[in-house]
């Protein structure tokens, strides 16, 4: 699989000659090539497809349980922090721009005033964190990859998605911290299950495409 062969790693000489030719290219150390862009598009689409699978409405605040968070974690684990955050950011931006791709076919800026706002805005950050941790895990660790990927996903959901989700409900629904925490806590068991799935799928995918994060 030429997922990221030598051509994706330009030598420093190539890079320095390429840079002046592209004045509005990304200012990061390398710009994304066609493969990266296709991957970003595919994973943004995957997240949208998962979010549209009929949801189970759980919780007093009306935040539904969907496979959306599974897609967010998978995107981070499979694509790594940069591309993962870009894919999820693209998904959230397209939804906020009015496309009906959030759970329950909602979309538009009005979502920012709803109970799910905190969760949605947390998704790109969570994908970045889970992606960064799992990149480190895949590169460094030879054993226990499943456990490490699970911990990476759990870090993304517990350190980013849940706190920001709680903050969003406190702001938009005027809940006090305790009530928001109770409304949020019902999602925790489902999230652990989804993180287990994301880790298992991540291990399989990285076995099939060992150079996916090689950049």
């Amino acid at each position: 699989m030429p997922q990221s062969g030598q051509r994706h790693r330009p030598s420093s000489a190539e890079r320095s000659t390429a840079a002046p030719e592209q004045p509005h290219a990304r200012t990061s150390r390398r710009s994304w090539n066609a493969t990266d862009l296709s991957l970003i598009a595919v994973f943004a689409a995957l997240t949208a497809a998962f979010a549209l699978i009929p949801a189970i409405p759980v919780g007093a605040a009306g935040v539904p349980v969907t496979l959306q968070t599974l897609a967010v974690m998978l995107t981070g684990v499979v694509l790594g922090p940069g591309r993962g955050a870009a894919a999820i950011g693209l998904y959230v931006a397209a939804g906020l721009a009015g496309l009906p791709i959030f759970s329950g076919f909602s979309g538009g800026l009005g979502v920012l005033a709803g109970p799910t706002a905190g969760y949605l805005l947390a998704f790109p950050l969570a994908a970045a964190l889970a992606g960064w941790l799992s990149t480190v895990a895949i590169r460094r660790a030879r054993r226990l990859q499943y456990l490490l990927l699970f911990l990476a996903c759990a870090a993304g959901s517990i350190l980013v998605i849940h706190p920001l989700g709680i903050a969003g409900m406190m702001l938009n629904l005027n809940l006090d911290p305790g009530a928001a925490l109770m409304a949020d806590i019902v999602f925790l068991p489902g999230d652990i299950a989804k993180n287990l799935i994301a880790a298992a799928v991540g291990v399989s995918v990285h076995k099939a495409f060992p150079r996916l994060l090689d950049r």
Binding site: Q3, S38, V42, A48
Partner: protein, 256 residues
Amino acid sequence: MLEYRPGNSLLHRLNPLTKIVVAGAVIVCGFLLPDFRGPLVLLIAVLALAAVAGLLKRILLMAAAVLITLFIGVFVLQGLFHEGDGTALLSVGPVTLWLDGFQRALLIFFRIAIIVCAMLLFILSTHPKDLVIALNNRGVSPKLTYVLVASLQFTPQMQRRARAITEAQQARGLNVKGSWRRRIQALITIMVPLLVGALIGAETRALALEARGFSRQGPRTYLREVPDTTTDKVLRWAALVVLAGVIIWRVITWLN
């Protein structure tokens, strides 16, 4: 469902950017106008445009599907519970429809109907390729427009693929019901082929793109032409001037 409908009306021939600017101006005006009559006039104008483009029936059907629950919700919430100055419009037994609440419901409903109808009209009358080329002509990076349009086109494809894989695995004896453990394992057996297929598909697409010089620097030409005519420029500026006028008018009335 949200697909371009070919046609040759004035609306179809307009530059996609013109349509975005005009639709945006109409939507913002709908929110700035204080009374339900303003948004009503705008909504009628949008629907008249749809009729000219031959898309009226389709848009009404699609908008009705989205708006009907909103319609009921808004009218029950506002019409029955917002008393305002206490003038009743209609009284049936214990239920009273308040004039003030009714007008407020109309205002909210028309504003949202404008957003839905204007967006639908734009999507149905604009070929995605035209939108991409118009944006690229304006200096938006082709990489960005590619990612945007590609992800939109992949979404239904992904849903079909997920369904196909689920059915294929069920044909091999996968049980998607049962205990939590079972369900998690079932999801994994669906997700792995889905992701592997998506990764291979992304690579194939990237090769096809590179074979056509996607990453090449420098000017590009396109097979499709998306002209930016004088009509387009006039319409864009007119929309912006009207919008600015409405904003100034609202600021002045607000200051008084």
